[in-house]
Amino acid sequence: MKVRVNGKSIDLPDDILTIEQLLSHFHLENKLAIVEKNKEIIDRKTYKTRTINEGDQIEIVHFVGGG
């Protein structure tokens, strides 16, 4: 399945179906990651159930140092 993650086109393995699996795929499951799918901010509590579909635009953001 082809999706865009943080502006990059990515071909995901077929067994990646949810936001939670996507984060695990990139080894980000223990990171404080905030996910936006097609401009919709996804509630952290629903990462397990929210699915990813072909062509989705996904943004994974986090807190960095700033003033």
Binding site: V5, N6, G7, K8, F26, H27, L28, K31, L32, A33, I34, E36, I41, I42, D43, R44, E59, I60, V61, H62, F63, V64, G65, G66, G67
Partner: protein, 256 residues
């Protein structure tokens, strides 16, 4: 005590977390500063480098109030989006609204800032806008319902200190919400001067992160903010154009 919305803080120093060269130094600086409020920015993760360290992982987030900013936003819509992303972390409901209107001076866009604040207030955020030292704008934002205003002392990262203390004074005198002097602080003297004017707090970053010894500077800023506040509360003497002796004028015959 500094009260913002329903939260009370002992420290009146808010510390930014950008541009530190070393996380251990940064952690020590945060401790020495005595701050209870740390600012952060929201950015894309590097998804191909899961091992990249993150300062948030090194501190006990229960001990600090996180104040994410909307830096990077050039209009109200972008600021609102960043604020919502920050809130979705589940770690904070406070937001520093920062909408830059000019890339050279990094001065804030007052109209977009106002619009962003309006939306974020309606969504229940605790809203702290970064603004220029404009008392009219500060009062308009206060009327809108923001929880504090954060006028700049001078351009972000410039270290120029208080360029227009009179304008800051106008805001401090007129505002009924906390006034936190944000941006441009270069030295402990600047921080003390801002607090001496009656500011409720100071937010700084580069002055500590860019210092030769950030840990020592963090402590200096803590003391400066405390000294400035104490001085303000104590009430300074009036300035006079003539001298007034400190020693008694009676019993002068002893030196005749």
């Amino acid at each position: 005590m500094l009260t913002i919305a329903n939260k009370t803080f002992h420290s009146r120093l808010l510390l930014g977390t950008g541009k530190f060269s070393d996380f251990n130094v940064q952690k020590q600086a945060v401790i020495e500063s005595g701050t209870e409020i740390l600012t952060f920015a929201v950015r894309r993760m590097n998804i191909f480098d899961a091992d990249q360290p993150n300062f948030l992982e090194l501190i006990d987030t229960d001990q600090y109030t996180l104040l994410p900013n909307t830096a990077g936003a050039a209009n109200a819509e972008e600021a609102v989006r960043i604020a919502r992303l920050a809130k979705a972390s589940g770690l904070c409901d406070m937001i520093k609204v920062e909408v830059i209107g000019d890339q050279e001076t990094l001065l804030p866009d007052p109209l977009e800032t106002y619009r962003a604040c309006e939306t974020l207030l309606s969504e229940g955020f605790v809203v702290l806008p970064y603004i220029s030292d404009d008392v009219v704008l500060a009062k308009r934002l206060e009327d809108l319902g923001v929880h504090a205003v954060m006028p700049g002392a001078s351009p972000i990262g410039s270290g120029l200190g208080l360029l227009n203390p009179i304008h800051l004074q106008y805001i401090i005198d007129k505002a009924d919400i906390p006034v936190i002097v944000d941006a441009g602080i270069g030295s402990p003297a600047d921080a003390a001067a801002a607090m001496s004017l009656g500011a409720d707090g100071v937010l700084l970053n580069s002055a500590v992160s860019g210092a030769k010894d950030p840990v020592k500077m963090a402590k200096a800023m803590k003391l400066a903010v405390e000294a400035g506040r104490l001085g303000y509360e104590a009430g300074r003497i009036e300035k006079k154009l003539s001298a007034v002796p400190s020693s008694p004028v009676e019993g002068m015959s002893v030196v005749d």
